[in-house]
Amino acid sequence: MRENKSKYSIDIEDLYVEYRTDYGVVKALNGMDLKIEHGKTLGLVGETGAGKTTTGLSILKLIPDPPGVIVGGSIKLDGEDLMEKTEKEMGQIRGKEISMIFQDPMTALNPVMTVEEQIAESIELHEQVSKSEAIEKARAMLELVGIPGERGKEYPHQFSGGMKQRVVIAIALACNPSLLIADEPTTALDVTIQAQVLEMMKELKEKYNTSMLMITHDLGIVAEICDTVSIIYAGQVVEHGNLEDIFENTRHPYTEGLFNSLPNLKDRKAKLKPIKGLMPDPANLPEGCAFCPRCDYAMEICKTQKPEKIYRNDGHYVRCHLYNEENIQEGRLETR
């Protein structure tokens, strides 16, 4: 087991990321906070375009540059500030300390390299082994994710979508990283395969005591494998807490909206209550609370002032003007 210098495997504070294009500055992250304790799993939940993938890429410092720029904030991996690392040092961290599983397995693998070469590449880079040993270990990794090792000689186009995602997972886990970032690892897969892949990830994570950042928009997955949850909206966490805090003591109108958007299997007559409208244009964010234009409870103050964190308990906080120190404990949103 590793010796941990900090309580948190990853600790992001007040992170700002912008994409500066010809068409304007897109503010992707606006004061992003994120903490994961060692061996725990955090679910990062939000709509498309909320900044989930940008958060994951920021940790690896792989924001496409240009146009992406990290404007401010800190990212600490087990207490060490990644912002100060050189590109070369980051090369030793990527794949070794932090790995990422990407969303679309169909495009995440190099079409002209064999599968085992792609897994072995990571092993060769980070561990003192010969090429043939790396290939051998790559095959063992394939077996681990449920693919016969001899298929490693094949190319990605010979694999199905679910198997490609297993390969991507094998690449990410090849060097036993301390932090695994999984960016919607099952979105592109069939439902039956989704469950298999999730189950496998859960097992592997427990086996190696890996911390995990699970990026998703599926609250079902969150309930299944996460310890804590951050709800992200327009590049900022609007509500954070453990499963119980978020599922049982929902505070933020946006979180509420997410739950209301889910079909209720027990009461099929119940109408869905989708959140009206769309995400604000990240190139042109509202002055006050970013959720204000879509919020049923919006007040005058919401239009002009950004809400600060209000804590319900040590772990659970919300950014919303509806709450203050007095009403945060009991304040439940009335259903519309």
Partner: protein, 308 residues
Amino acid sequence: MIKYVVKRLLALIPVIIGVTMLVFFILKSAPGDPVRLILGEQATPEQVAELTEQMGLDQPLLVQYVKYMIGLVQGDLGIAYSTRRPVADEVFSRFPYTLKLSLVATVVSIALAIPLGIIAAVKQNTVIDNVSMFVALIGISMPMFWLALLLMLLFSLKLGWFPVSGAASWQSYILPAFALGFMNMASTARTTRSSMLETIRQDYIRTARSKGVSNSVVIRKHAFKNALIPTITVCGLQIGSLLGGSVLCETVFAWPGIGRLMVQAISARDVPMVLGCTVIFTICFSIVNLLVDLLYGFVDPRIKSMYS
């Protein structure tokens, strides 16, 4: 793989038949009597009739064509009107010069263009990128024969560094090969750059970076081979214009190849000679296209699996 090559070679046969038929009938429809052309206006009707029969021109076109094809299979391309000698002798003695010139031009231009395109892509929007892409843009915009003339003017006539014409020594290759290859190089470099830019934005490049692979290794190991695929396509297409360009290049530098032979044959209305040159060019072009397709297989496993 071998099965695929054989299949492709067999598929060449109808194309060659089609090409010869097309060119044969186009050229045979030319106005004017070739016999009159050879014998001159003073020839008696008896002489004309005799030669017409001797050359088989009194037979129906289709019969003439079939006879031509039977000859072609045996390596006989007919008798040239202008010299009264076998076309095949002339064409095959000149062909190596065209082949050598085109090969030098192709190899050198591709060898220069691919690294240039990659550097331009990696250093996107820097001075190197802008300068080399400007040069490449000029390169695809310059008419080949004008470039040839300018090169000849500067390096042969003014500076006297290279011979003005002919194919006597290795120095005589430099200017024609450069003129012939420059456009090829320019368009290959442009394609390499744009496909490289396209490739380095792909997800699998991000995957490689997330493994901790350094930037330069990502370019060399992951991006290069993928970016090569569109580049090969364009190189293949360029060979056609390179062969067409060799006609002009050989004319400017008085190069003893079949391109110049063809121009002379057209001026002399020498139908068998024009036909012979066209057939040889077409066979070359088809073989090059086949080689290009095979090259895909080496680069792209997805295509390779289709071959077997």
